[in-house]
Subunit: 127 residues, 2 copies
């Protein structure tokens, strides 16, 4: 039987995403993995990110400076984006918040599937 994720490189991309809290870009993943996989190509990274996203194994959490940022942590949480260094940090909300937000009436919407809550500001590293 053919499993969903049998290729070495796809597996490496997924595991790298699982192991980091960087919420990396395709470029970052490519640069990180090309030491181990010398023949890796950027197109492969993009292709597999799209594929993993479609399978629900990873999520695109934000577009920062025109670059898509990915996360293998798919449980509901939000993010903080540093407007100086573009760092993306996980934010876990208390249970009440999603309910509060979820009950919002939206005029013109037929069905709400999900929402994205992103904070912007300055991170610790940027003082």
């Amino acid at each position: 039987m053919r499993t969903q994720n049998y290729s070495k490189k796809r597996q490496a991309i997924y595991e790298l995403l699982l192991s980091t809290k960087e919420h990396p870009t395709a470029e970052w993943i490519y640069n990180t993995l090309k030491d181990e996989y010398a023949d890796l190509s950027l197109g492969t990274v993009y292709r597999n990110l799209k594929l993993l996203e479609k399978n629900g194994m990873i999520k695109s959490v934000a577009v920062v400076n025109g670059c898509e940022r990915y996360d293998a942590l798919t449980s509901p949480h939000s993010h903080f984006v540093c407007t100086k260094c573009s760092r993306v940090i996980d934010v876990f909300y208390r249970d009440e918040v999603p309910d509060f937000i979820r009950n919002m009436h939206i005029d013109g919407a037929d069905r709400v599937d999900y929402f994205s809550l992103i904070y912007y500001g300055t991170c610790n590293n940027c003082e």
Copy 2:
């Protein structure tokens, strides 16, 4: 005296944004205005959007399908994005929501300046 916004075209871009709830892209603005301003160029639209944004007169509210969407309504509110037709709809939350969110503790953040809350789903038009 030279006011901040004295050029005809910049004024037209700003007023168009004020008059619509489309949350348009640069392209949309360009196409809408080029009837009246035959010699308008797309670069001018981009340049002035950046400028108006820097002046705080407009806001970038989301990136939908890789396109930046702008809004002249700068009072705090959030948005609904239709994942089928890319329509962007204003969502006005109760006053408590910002407070509730603002009190959230974010580990790694030094200062939170603002946040963005975006809902995704299907709009009325897309049934």
